[in-house]
Each structure stands twice: as structure tokens, then as C-alpha cells.
């Protein structure tokens, strides 16, 4: 099976969907002639031309809103935010419009659109460029939020997102763009709302999404090698819809859960997961549900410290050891 980068997998997904459906258009800052700030859209403008791939001015409110309006008209826009942190500039369009219009129209208006781009920190670009907005956005019904952790997932989820009739926010991770995974050549789709057990284990469940999944896999490896503890790693893949069954299945098997989450702890995605576990699997637990989140401060610039601010495999290991 070919081994490709997360970035290339996304690029392939976009190219395949542009080819398949002429209603798909790509919009965003520097996505066309510049080939994308993170090169996710590399080559697409050259291949598909001016009509399909559009460089926008730096006007998040205008081009996200334009995407919403175009989807009303039956197109399937894929709007790139150079960083998900910039969604705050277009928060009205993202939450009030993409999130509420279907409801407020009594189901008369569908919004088949994707908003995508890199989220989360880790690249030493400071607080304004390192937000983890998935909890803030997934908080709002009407929106779907997916956070792929591998190239395989990124491609399959992106293709599904583009074909979905609801607004889907795809949160990619800057630190994963250059990482490689096996990705089959033949076409595949991954449904939204289906978690993936990335590693089987019997002693503790590590439940994560996005890059925290990779951190959890490294932690699981350390736990197995150094402590003979077998952690199961559940990758949520999609935050809304959320695969509750997969979470509960794993917790009922291992009886212990550590939630690994690059969100800040307060009102984080993992806070929601903890609620679900304590409500629905309380009797199955042998220990309290614990979390490893980003440290509760705006993202720090200092390269050495930012590494510590994000969840690390070592912090996960430490948390697991406190449980068993």
C-alpha cells in the first residue's frame, strides 16, 4: 500500500471530489496560485482552473458567508481557513449562519459545505494561531465536526464531508501534515460518527481525537514496554456526530478511562466524554475518569514550553499509572 503524507491524503481527497462533482468549489486565502499556505491545495488550481479553485482576499466573514450562500444555491463549497483560529473573525457566519439556517428555515434550506483548515497548536506561532476550537464549535447543534488523526482517516473523512448535506468542519492538524501513513489507492469513504479503535488493550481506555490520538498511541507503547499495561486507544475521529457506543464499549472492557485532549480542560470535548462515561458506564468503572488536556493558558510561544503545554505521552503515562 502506498505511504503518503496527511497533507497529500487531503490533497487527493479534494482532487477526487473536484473531479467527481462539478458543484465542488474550493475557496480560501492563497489556496489557488500560491498552492495553499500549508500546501493542502497544491496543484489544484493548475489542474482544475479558475472556475473551481478561488483565491480570496483576507476577508473571512465575506468568503465563509459566500460559501454558505453558494451552498444554498446548490454548490458544495470547500472553504479553507488558513488557521481555524481565524474562524473567530467569521464566527457569525460559522455559527449563526452555517449552524442555524437549516433549523430556522424549518428544514427548507440545506447547507452542503465544508470548512477546513489546520487547528491546534504546537508550531510555536503563539496564542492567536493555535486555538483548538473544536469544543467551541461542536458545542453548536447544526454543525458537524471531524478531527482526523491519520492520513487514511483524513482522506476518507474529507471525501465524506464533501458529500455530506450538512455543514462539516474538518479540523486538520498542522503537526500532522508531514507525517506519513498507508493509504490505499482504491477509493474509500469513512462515515462520520464512527470511532476507530487504533490499538486494542484490556487495562485502560485512552480516548482521544486528532493529534491526541497519536500522543495516546505513543503513550500506549510506553505503557506496554515499560509497565506491562495494555492500553486501548479509541480515536473518536468525529466529535459531532459522536460514536458513544465505541466509547462505552471500550470502557466496559477496560474499566478505566483516561481522556487525552489537546483542548484546554475547561469546557473541553473531553469534559463531554467524561459526562457520558459517568452517566452511562458508572458501574463499569474501577477508577475515576481522568483527563490529560493542554495546560490551561493561551498557547505559549516558547518552543520548549509549548511541547509541555500540549498533552505528551509522558503525561499520559503518568496519569494512567495513577489509576492502576
Amino acid at each position: 500500500m502506498p505511504v503518503i503524507t496527511y497533507r497529500k491524503a487531503l490533497n487527493d481527497a479534494l482532487a477526487e471530489e473536484l473531479t467527481r462533482d462539478e458543484n465542488v468549489v474550493i475557496l480560501g486565502e492563497e489556496v489557488a496560485q500560491y498552492n495553499g499556505a500549508y500546501k493542502v491545495t497544491e496543484g489544484l488550481w493548475k489542474r482544475f482552473g479558475d472556475k473551481r479553485v478561488w483565491d480570496t482576499p483576507i476577508s473571512e466573514a465575506a468568503f465563509v458567508g459566500l460559501g454558505v450562500g453558494a451552498s444554498m444555491m446548490g454548490l458544495r463549497p470547500v472553504v479553507e481557513l488558513m488557521f481555524w483560529s481565524f474562524a473567530f473573525v467569521a464566527y457569525d457566519q460559522v455559527v449563526n449562519n452555517a449552524g442555524c439556517i437549516r433549523y430556522m428555515s424549518g428544514g427548507l434550506v440545506n447547507l452542503p459545505m465544508v470548512i477546513r483548515g489546520p487547528a491546534n497548536g504546537g508550531t510555536n506561532v503563539g496564542a492567536t494561531h493555535s486555538h483548538t476550537p473544536e469544543s467551541i464549535l461542536a458545542h453548536n447543534p447544526g454543525i458537524k465536526v471531524v478531527c482526523p488523526a491519520t492520513a487514511y482517516d483524513a482522506k476518507g473523512l474529507m471525501k465524506t464531508a464533501i458529500r455530506d448535506d450538512d455543514p462539516v468542519f474538518v479540523m486538520e492538524n498542522t503537526l500532522l501534515y508531514g507525517e506519513t501513513w498507508e493509504v490505499p489507492e482504491e477509493e474509500y469513504l469513512i462515515p462520520l460518527g464512527v470511532a476507530d479503535v487504533k490499538r486494542e488493550g484490556a487495562d485502560v481506555s485512552l480516548i482521544a481525537h486528532g493529534r491526541a490520538t497519536i500522543t495516546s498511541l505513543k503513550a500506549a507503547e510506553l505503557l506496554a514496554q515499560e509497565h506491562n499495561i495494555h492500553a486501548e486507544v479509541v480515536d473518536l475521529r468525529s466529535i459531532r456526530p459522536l460514536d458513544e457506543d465505541a466509547i462505552l464499549r471500550s470502557v466496559r472492557k477496560t474499566h478505566r478511562a483516561v481522556l487525552v485532549d489537546e483542548n484546554k480542560p475547561f469546557c473541553a470535548v473531553s469534559a463531554q466524554i467524561a459526562t457520558i462515561i459517568q452517566q452511562k458506564a458508572f458501574d463499569d468503572l474501577d477508577a475515576p475518569v481522568l483527563r490529560v488536556c493542554s495546560l490551561d493558558a493561551p498557547a505559549i510561544y516558547s518552543p520548549r514550553l509549548e511541547k509541555l503545554q500540549l498533552p505528551t505521552p509522558e503525561r499520559v503515562v503518568e496519569k494512567v499509572l495513577s489509576l492502576v
Binding site: S59, A62, V68, G69, M72, M73, R102, S105, P141, G193
Partner: protein, 358 residues
């Protein structure tokens, strides 16, 4: 600064020249329907206790919606702000579905989920009222983008208030509209107030809001909302520009609202002198002026006018009856219409959970 457009011909303008008596009377009928609908809704708001939230009345501005929308063809689309009862009714929505929406009933146009600021009728090319001031302006861009992308000869009429002109989203939209040659027409309904703040207190260059479009190389014009002929003539010029050159236009239509910002405007009587309101109501009312004109043109009789008005009032009363007798939505419906996928029960919807309780 001077408007670029010169459409002095007005009544004689091509688009008005061929108007039949029937059409002219129809415009009167539409304006009366808006006025009566709102008058009735206001009364219900105050007496029945069954209409909640805001109720932003359009009374005084009817000629804007009726004049502009009268020119819309098959591929012309409309999107509006929150003061949109007039646009909705003119677009062809029924009083019944609109009144029922105000009453929060299941028979409402949005099944009771949208309320006063949020009527939608995509089948009539009406893409809704939008509650965030200026938030609809980029959506209008997107509608125009979609039309252009599909190669359809159409445009989007996007309505906003004089207050919305100060929103960043609007300026971003102007830039993009001009840059990408999008067939969007921004129609500023300048009723001189945004809530309790007058134009002088909110706009740096209050004499000409439309002129700001010049900075984006967009053609603009001033229009008097008192005269349906003028509204139509100048809107037609803009629509032609959109259809043939795919270029945007900004029109600023001078108009006035009679009631407070909304029914719950606590200061409705404080920021405008009563004499000012009285002056507009008596001397500048677009409905009275149009009616007078049609009488002068001898296409209408007094008796006919009275009849039209009575019919509009009766239609509104009937809408109240319809609304009151309609069921309230089922509590389970709180969870429908959130996601297309949930309503259609697709595979993924069955695996993942969309809704969460505490």
C-alpha cells in the same frame, strides 16, 4: 459627490412604460397586504399574548420591497435582514404561513422555528430574513456566486438597513462583489435610524451611505422610496447591469419606518419627534402616494381602493384565525431540522450521536 446613475425618466422609463393598469393596481394590493398584515400582527402581539420575541414592523417602507421585487424574474433571488415581513409577502409567501410563524405554530413557514426575523421560502427564491445585522450581506454574495457559477442569467437582491452599512461584513462583501464581478445588488433601506441611533450619530458620511461603494468601484445610486416608478426604474438599471455585465450595484433607498425599532422598543417615542413621524405618515406615505397617483392616472377608482384595502385586512384576519387554530409544534420537533442527515436517517446518523442531554 454625485450619483453615477441618471434615471430621470421614471414613469416613462422603459420598465414602467408598459405597465398595465392591472399591474399597477397589483402593486397597491401588495403594499396594502403588507400594511394590514403588520397592523394585525401588532394588534395580536399586544392583545393575544401569543406572539413572542421581537416584531420589527416594516410599515412605511412597503414601496421598497414591492418596487424592487416586482422586477424579479425566474433566476433572481432575494435575501433580507430581520425587518423582512414585506419582502417575504412580496416574494409570494402566504399571510397564513407568515402569521402562523409569528404565533410559533407548526403550520408556520419555518414550523415555528424561525419566528419574525427568519421567514424562508427557497421555492420562491427567498432566502430568508437574517437576525444578525449585516450577516446576510456575504450570503447574498454566495447566492450571486452560485448563479454565476451555474451560468444562469440572474442576480441577488440583498437588503440591509442604514445601520448595517457600518458592519465589516458588508464592506468585505463589497470588495469581493466588485473583485469577482458578482451579480449582487445591495439595497440599503435608509429609514434614518438604527434602533434609537440616528444616521447622523452612526455614520461618518451620513449624507450618502451608498457612495461608500465608490471606494470599491461599484456603481451606486440614490432612490426615493416615495415613488414606485423611481424604485422600479433604478432597480431595473441595476438588475440589467447584473444580468448583462455581472456587476454589482448599491442602491440607497430613502424611506421611513412609522413604528418603533421593534414592538419592544422601550424608547420608541423618545428618539424621534412626534411631528417628524406625523410628517412622514401624512405627507410621504408610499401607499397613499401610489394610490393618489393611480387615481390621477385614472387606472383606479376610490371604491376599488377601499375594496383592496378591505380585502387585505380580511386576509390578515383570516391569517390570524388560521394561526390560532393551528397546532403548536410537537416537543419532539425540537430535534428535527437541525441536520439534514438526521431527518433522512442515513447510515452515519445511526452510528453517531448528534444530540446530547445533560
Amino acid at each position: 459627490m454625485e450619483a453615477l446613475l441618471e434615471t430621470k425618466t421614471l414613469a416613462a422609463a422603459k420598465i414602467n412604460h408598459g405597465l398595465t393598469a392591472e399591474k399597477k393596481i397589483h402593486f397597491l394590493r401588495q403594499m396594502l397586504r403588507i400594511r394590514r398584515f403588520e397592523q394585525t400582527a401588532l394588534k395580536q402581539y399586544q392583545t393575544s399574548g401569543q406572539i413572542g420575541g421581537f416584531l420589527h414592523l416594516y410599515s412605511g417602507q412597503e414601496s421598497v420591497a414591492v418596487g424592487t421585487l416586482s422586477l424579479c424574474g425566474e433566476n433572481d433571488h432575494v435575501i433580507a435582514g430581520y425587518r423582512m415581513h414585506g419582502h417575504a409577502l412580496t416574494a409570494g409567501m402566504s399571510m397564513n404561513e407568515c402569521m402562523a410563524e409569528l404565533f410559533g405554530r407548526a403550520t408556520g413557514c419555518s414550523k415555528g422555528k424561525g419566528g419574525s426575523m427568519h421567514f424562508f421560502a427557497p421555492d420562491k427564491n427567498f432566502w430568508g430574513g437574517h437576525g444578525i445585522v449585516g450577516g446576510q450581506t456575504p450570503l447574498g454574495l454566495g447566492l450571486a456566486f452560485g448563479l454565476k457559477y451555474k451560468g444562469l442569467k440572474g442576480c441577488c437582491l440583498c437588503f440591509l438597513g442604514d445601520g448595517a452599512v457600518n458592519q465589516g461584513a458588508y464592506h468585505e462583501s463589497l470588495n469581493l462583489a466588485a473583485l469577482w464581478d458578482l451579480p449582487v445588488i445591495y439595497i440599503i433601506e435608509n429609514n434614518q435610524y438604527s434602533m434609537g441611533t440616528s444616521l447622523e450619530r452612526s455614520s461618518a458620511f451620513s449624507k450618502c451611505l451608498a457612495a461608500r461603494a465608490e471606494a470599491y468601484d461599484i456603481v451606486w445610486d440614490h432612490v426615493s422610496g416615495e415613488d414606485l416608478y423611481e424604485v422600479r426604474a433604478k432597480t431595473w438599471t441595476a438588475i440589467q447591469r447584473a444580468h448583462t455585465e455581472s456587476r454589482p450595484t448599491v442602491l440607497e433607498i430613502a424611506t421611513y419606518r412609522y413604528f418603533g425599532h421593534s414592538v419592544s422598543d422601550a424608547n420608541a417615542k423618545k428618539y424621534r419627534r412626534p411631528e417628524e413621524i406625523e410628517k412622514y405618515r401624512t405627507l410621504h406615505d408610499p401607499i397613499q402616494l401610489w394610490q393618489k397617483r393611480l387615481l390621477e392616472e385614472e387606472v383606479l377608482t376610490e371604491a376599488q381602493a377601499t375594496e383592496l384595502d378591505a380585502a387585505a385586512a380580511a386576509e390578515a384576519e383570516e391569517a390570524v384565525r388560521f394561526a390560532k387554530e393551528s397546532p403548536i409544534p410537537n416537543p419532539a420537533d425540537i430535534f428535527s431540522d437541525v441536520y439534514s442527515e438526521v431527518d433522512r436517517q442515513t447510515a452515519a446518523g445511526q452510528t453517531g450521536k448528534f444530540f446530547f442531554n445533560d
